[in-house]
């Protein structure tokens, strides 16, 4: 299927990218000076550390990190002390961590020879990377075997709070035509500075992201995929206080897509910016290496800011996110930048605006599997009206050649989806995608018409905004409330206490290896 094209001012596009690059270069400098507790915990998880401790079921990696902090050993990172201990005590890393939980004090241990440490770490790192690679190859093989469904992929969420109930809902959705299943997290999880453990059955507005839940869903989806004879993608959410760890878990369990966006955490979850930009970097390295597509959250801006007036903030943010992603070694094929169909349906010609915005995303990021979000903000309790809005949404997606289509749910304004709400979403998308299969091949947009003009206008405004951000810096820009009409301060937000400046002694061979492998070593 083709799609119509529009002409963008190519000089302006180039200039926009150079601005975004400069903006992210500045932030990356700061990122490189820092690490976070979650980064370190992720490192330990990559080394195979797993499990929980005590009645409170505190993750072992958290217990270890707390200890390292208590011992003032954190600024060198978790890798070195733990691996050192493994060497000198001749245990594996998991055993060392368990021992720490049981009272082992790393401060009392001698240091191994540097040479020994390096050989040993090298092996550990290789093993860690190999595990990820193996999983990712396994996924690839299944994709090859079962075949990729046509785009736009039909993406549906399940959100019962209970992983076993989620499985039923997800499998049903697959049999009804879903291509991608996302398990929404429980409302509070992104603010937790640890990742819950095991299979869970009690969440609010979603189900906890745990490694075991990932595994359970993966298995269910693969089974269903084999039955329907098409590959089914699994999605979860990384943005939040545990971005790097969730990326590790996703890599280990073979997830295909992760919502992964520091900006979302800052703006919509009030997470500290330094913390989450730092977390984002390592988590994206992992995604890049594990062949996991990231999804960014620009669509959310339009739930609080006006979708016409502030369309350019989405574009500016997409360009910034693209540069952040490139820095972490993500290829365009893995960049699921976000946008949305969120214009007030009462606006005359809203459809033309939506088409223009959708085309702009396509033209700017032709190789990216852009994530297209349905109307949410202007959905009302009139489920029929909402169904009509979703119909036009599906049409625009098909007509403009979008990649990942989050299906609109007719009860968006009422409750998290019931089983048949999801079914009806699929009925709608299946109908429209088939009825309009080659529409994109058959229509053209009038040269210099509304759509082309509007897309260039949004681009121009995005450039102006990028110029401003590049002047004041991204952190200040966020402080000014430039995105989503939401202001966040540099010192505020959750999780700042989990950021630390790396000392001279800091080491993270896994991060280095990833950077090396991905060709982004700086």
């Amino acid at each position: 299927m083709g799609r119509p094209t529009i002409r963008l001012d190519s000089k302006l596009v180039e200039y926009a990218r150079s601005l975004a690059k400069k903006i992210t270069d500045d932030v990356q400098k700061i990122i490189d000076e820092h690490s976070t507790v979650s980064t370190e915990r992720a490192t330990l998880r990559l080394l195979g550390v797993d499990g929980v401790v005590g009645e409170d079921r505190i993750p072992l990696v958290n217990v270890v990190l707390d200890k390292l902090k208590e011992w003032n050993m954190l600024d060198q990172g978790a890798f070195k002390p733990v691996v050192n201990a493994a060497i000198v005590l001749d245990k594996d890393v998991q055993q060392i961590c368990e021992a720490i939980a049981d009272g082992l004090d790393l401060r009392t241990l001698p240091q191994p020879k540097r040479q020994v440490y390096e050989t040993f770490s090298k092996k550990l790192v290789e093993e860690a990377l190999a595990r990820i690679k193996r999983k990712s190859e396994e996924r690839d093989a299944l994709l090859q075997q079962l075949g990729d469904p046509p785009k736009p992929y039909k993406y549906l969420i399940v959100a019962t709070g209970n992983i076993y109930e989620d499985v039923v809902q997800a499998r049903a959705a697959v049999f009804q035509g879903a291509d991608i299943i996302a398990v929404i997290r429980s409302t509070a999880q992104s603010l937790l500075d640890y990742v819950p453990y095991g299979a869970t059955t009690e969440g609010y507005g979603g189900t906890y992201a745990t490694q075991e839940n990932f595994r359970i869903m993966r298995q269910a989806l693969d089974e269903a995929a084999r039955k329907v004879g098409r590959y089914i993608r699994q999605v979860n959410y990384a943005s939040g206080l545990c971005m790097p760890e969730i990326a590790v878990m996703a890599a280990l369990e073979g997830l295909d897509i992760l919502l992964n966006d520091a900006m979302y955490g800052i703006l919509f979850r009030d997470i500290n910016m330094l913390r989450t930009f730092t977390d984002q970097y390592i988590s994206r390295l992992i995604c890049a290496y594990a062949n996991i597509t990231i999804n960014t959250g620009e669509d959310n801006y339009l739930t609080t800011a006006d979708a016409i007036e502030k369309a350019h903030t989405v574009t500016a943010s997409q360009l910034i996110n693209e540069q952040f992603a490139l820095k972490a070694g993500l290829k365009p094929q893995l960049m699921g930048l976000g946008h949305a169909f969120e214009i007030n349906p009462n606006v005359e010609d809203s459809l033309l605006y939506e088409i223009a915005h959708a085309m702009l995303s396509r033209e700017l990021f032709p190789d990216c599997p852009v994530k297209y979000m349905p109307p949410t903000r202007y959905m009302t309790g009139n489920i029929f009206k909402g169904y009509a809005m979703n119909t036009l949404f599906n049409l625009v997606s098909s007509m403009t050649g979008q990649s990942i289509q989050l299906l609109g749910i007719l009860t968006e304004a009422i409750h998290t989806p019931y089983m048949h709400d999801r079914y009806l979403a699929l009925v709608n998308a299946n109908y429209v995608f088939s009825a309009a299969r080659h529409l994109g091949d058959e229509i053209l947009f009038k040269p210099d018409g509304f759509i082309e003009k509007r897309a260039n206008e949004v681009l121009r405004k995005a450039v102006e905004l990028l110029e401003h951000i590049s002047d004041v810096g991204l952190f200040s820009a966020i402080e000014q409330g430039i995105f989503a009409d939401i202001k966040r301060s540099r010192e505020g937000g959750k999780g700042l206490e989990g950021v630390f400046k790396k000392s001279e002694a800091y080491e993270n061979p896994i991060r280095s290896a990833l950077e090396h492998e991905l060709g982004v070593r700086r």
Binding site: A159, T160, N162, E165, Q169, T380, G381, N382, I383, F384, T411, A413, I414, H415, T416, P417, Y418, M419
Partner: protein
Amino acid sequence: MSERNLVRPYGDQMDDGAVQLSFTLPVEFGPLAREAAKKFCEKLGFYEVTIATMEDLSEGYTFFVVYGKTDVAVDLSSIKVIAPKVQRLPREKIDELVLQKLKRPIVVVGATIGTDAHTIGLDSILNMKGFHGDYGLERYKAFKVYNLGAQVPPIELVKKVREVGADVVLVSQVVTQRNIHIQHLTELMELLYAENLRDKLLVIVGGPRITHELALELGYDAGFGSGTTPSEVANFIVQELLKKRGL
């Protein structure tokens, strides 16, 4: 799931009893209308009633979309499915059976009776072409079909039945507004009795809003609803008729 007997509607948790309703009340748009809608749903046995939307239809009417939960459950073990019992034989088998046992094709007269002009449903049972890739009765050697078309007065149909010595009458009823189909169907059945034809015949009715249950109530031998395929009807006719004729 299969061992569960007591079932309730399902939204996203087993037995949550979630149901969507929509309706209009003849009440002026406003707070009173909202309460009236809520009360109405509660009287139906719903709780956690959410008025998802309430919209002004003008002229003193208000439209509602409501979600509610109910504890009303259905005991599956208490349900008897009332449906024509049919064994599924292939067309060739049916043709063979009839010619072998009855020694002649079954004579079928079909019509959409009364003021009803919808022929497509009946045609798709009778015509060669059939329905959804399933051939119609005309394609069977087992049947001789007379299709009288639409808007046939019952009396005309009865005349034809006599004229051709029909074994089976197939009537279609699509328009059901103000229960006009009941009127038409009753009229036909009374005529058949009056003319002493009822007993010899298989009398079958079909249409999108027809159920087997309704058909039995009205004295018909079977009722076929939406999505009926000709082969279902063919099988039913043959099996019932041979039984009826003691063959």
